[in-house]
Symmetry: C2
Subunit: 471 residues, 2 copies
Amino acid sequence: MEEVAKEIAQVLSEDAVSFDADVLEHHGRSDWSTSNSQGRSVAVVYPRSTDDVAKIARICNKRKVPMIPFGAGSSVEGNFSQPHSGICIDFAYMDKIVAFHPEDMDVVVQPGVNWVDLNNQIAHAGLFAPLDPSPTATIGGMVSTNCSGTNAMRYGTMKDWVLNLTVVLADGTIIKTRRRPRKNSAGYNLTSLFVGAEGTLGIVTEVCLKLAPIPEDTSVSVVAFPSIRAAADAASKLIRSGIQLAALEIMDEAQMRLLNQHGSETVRKRHWAEQPTLFLKFSGTTEAIKSDVARASKIIKPFAAGNKFHFARSKQDEHDLWAARKEALFTMVSTRPVGTEIWSTDVAVPVSRLPEIIELSKAECGELGIFASVIGHVGDGNFHVAMLYDPKNLEQKQAVARCVRNMMDRALEMEGTVSGEHAIGIGKKECLIDELGEVTVGLMQKLKLAVDPNWVMNPGKVFDLEIDRSR
Amino acid sequence: MEEVAKEIAQVLSEDAVSFDADVLEHHGRSDWSTSNSQGRSVAVVYPRSTDDVAKIARICNKRKVPMIPFGAGSSVEGNFSQPHSGICIDFAYMDKIVAFHPEDMDVVVQPGVNWVDLNNQIAHAGLFAPLDPSPTATIGGMVSTNCSGTNAMRYGTMKDWVLNLTVVLADGTIIKTRRRPRKNSAGYNLTSLFVGAEGTLGIVTEVCLKLAPIPEDTSVSVVAFPSIRAAADAASKLIRSGIQLAALEIMDEAQMRLLNQHGSETVRKRHWAEQPTLFLKFSGTTEAIKSDVARASKIIKPFAAGNKFHFARSKQDEHDLWAARKEALFTMVSTRPVGTEIWSTDVAVPVSRLPEIIELSKAECGELGIFASVIGHVGDGNFHVAMLYDPKNLEQKQAVARCVRNMMDRALEMEGTVSGEHAIGIGKKECLIDELGEVTVGLMQKLKLAVDPNWVMNPGKVFDLEIDRSR
């Protein structure tokens, strides 16, 4: 493998390859992830173009050496881990906006572009890419995990915003999946096949994103509930109402308490009720929002047991209310007790089952005697559980793992999925087989083998070459 | 092949197989299609379950006999033609709603369900499937062509509304692509791979569709323009405005004249200006619509050269205005001169290029001296040209074909697609290679070979096994 790295250095340049131990370590694990593997790549390479990536692929494929694409390293299921070592491909220098077409409402970017930067750079044209995963995330990783975030209720997930991809296949072949029209019915939808494939079918080197007009106006409301069940029931009712919410988020009392204790200055401007809370974002014309807020308040009232509906009275107010939701995970990670790690996971279920699964999962992880909380995108039937545990305490670690596993099983019993927005990585490979069965996963393997016969594209993710049929 | 049909009759039942010449003819061509082939299947079979389809597939695959799925026969690119003969699989008896989950806003249906029937049956729950292709279309065909229609501007295309598919593969294996949550990031997006694959990768036998809440209110406005360019320019401006239109349709002066001459009684209640016309549909809350209509009128005014903005004053009025748009194609086909055939085609381009391509295409087909008109979903950068020609007049036929081919080339020069919503069928195989290149189409072939090594699933559609590299 070292020889392969040296060959890449010869073909690209010495500067394009790093063997530095700290660099390798930084690219091999993450504090945010629950699925770090022991393996590390032998080198990190830094391509500057699609052609560079094609050269890297040809060298790796010839020698059957794994290639692992790396974006911001903010994924949580070990999606960029290197269990079989290999060459890590970091897109830090492929961070350019290639072409911006405001009149067509699309933009072509390299995979290393950060989505917050992108949205800042195109805001002047009244357009934005309406995904909002971790603020650190880059477009390549967002494509490969089919990310979403709080905006998904209104705007859908990454797969809905990719018009075409330029992809380097295992043998270095470069393909472009489609052209630029917003509507297309020509041939297989290769775009959607690569979105969410976690780099196991090819390496994304250019992305054409559809953009949305920035809404004329937005507003935020927050309301607390006597129980997580009441909050989830109210959410269910709102979803069915047809009110076009931009986002509908839930945070439990543990999260709300954390905001009062450790929130940013902005967030601690107000004292938050330490109860399960819904955050509602509205968007559209100012008139439509007024009417939507009124309708939503009416629907929520019977569930809120007299709790007041706080709605933003100014843009500053709106920003402050929403900040509480956006800071949640960061606050949790940054204030965790020394020595603890975070286990963060997500599932999604048909929306009617949401109250039940949230209540059951919360009750179970509440019994562990550790910090455990529920937070999530209830508008999509998708929620997260985050637990802080001591990795040295094996009993505790096992209890957390069991609790997560039970949550997966429960989601599957409800015809849900083991991954609403974090993809499979190495953390959920077994669960994927439980979700879809060996025959469907077998079809995925067949497709992968057709394009990556040497199994060198991010191997060990999504599924293994050999499915353990003894399970 | 006849033996295969007899074997199917033995395994299913005698009633499940037809050799009737009229039946074969009906399943082998269509007046709506521009790409009828000479081939006919040897038999039409009528499965009643996924298991029936699996049995058919096993028999056909073993003997390497083509299988061609048939829905309503309303596709236009020869998608259900039988150029290599084989067994036609008609889903007429697989027309049941399997499960309706109003609380989850989804429905599970068999492929033979007609979408208008479906929407009538679920309307009581305030939900609908927001696609609107030909009123005759069935869900299986809609999935396989990735259909859309006038609602796509607001709601997207078929691929955006399929939660999971049950599919029978070439060898009779049955897979389910996903479970039922509205959000999912678990494994490869097989669902989107089968949507739009025209039955060349597998046969869809069950579809779980996401549903949308029926909007609180809708409204329709109609306005005429001095030129097609002015209409298209106004459309471009509207799209960029961020006003959430439900639909934005264009019809040229030829179409409007036809409405005055041959429209239904409803449509002929008013005299239509025989000028290029935009049809706007609004949806949302009554308040939001009022504000949207006002904003849209303001944007359109400078382009309309004093033409009045007609807006519906009642639900009846709204229905009547929209009927004019919906009847257009039907009116054209049903009143065409004896002996003529229709050549209907569509392309889509990045929205800013729409005025130019519409103007050029209209000018070119206007020179042919036959009925030719432009109609389309301008909200998506997608439009249709329809021409009535005499198939016995070879010179005329060639001129029409050249005109269509030029329109494709023009769309490709503008980074558009040769098929916005009708898929490829047999009619646009060459164009697909021009659009994506041999390497990308080669990847599609590789994927097909991986799942259909005998090339028996609807062969001769989308691309051929051997790409003619002399082109």
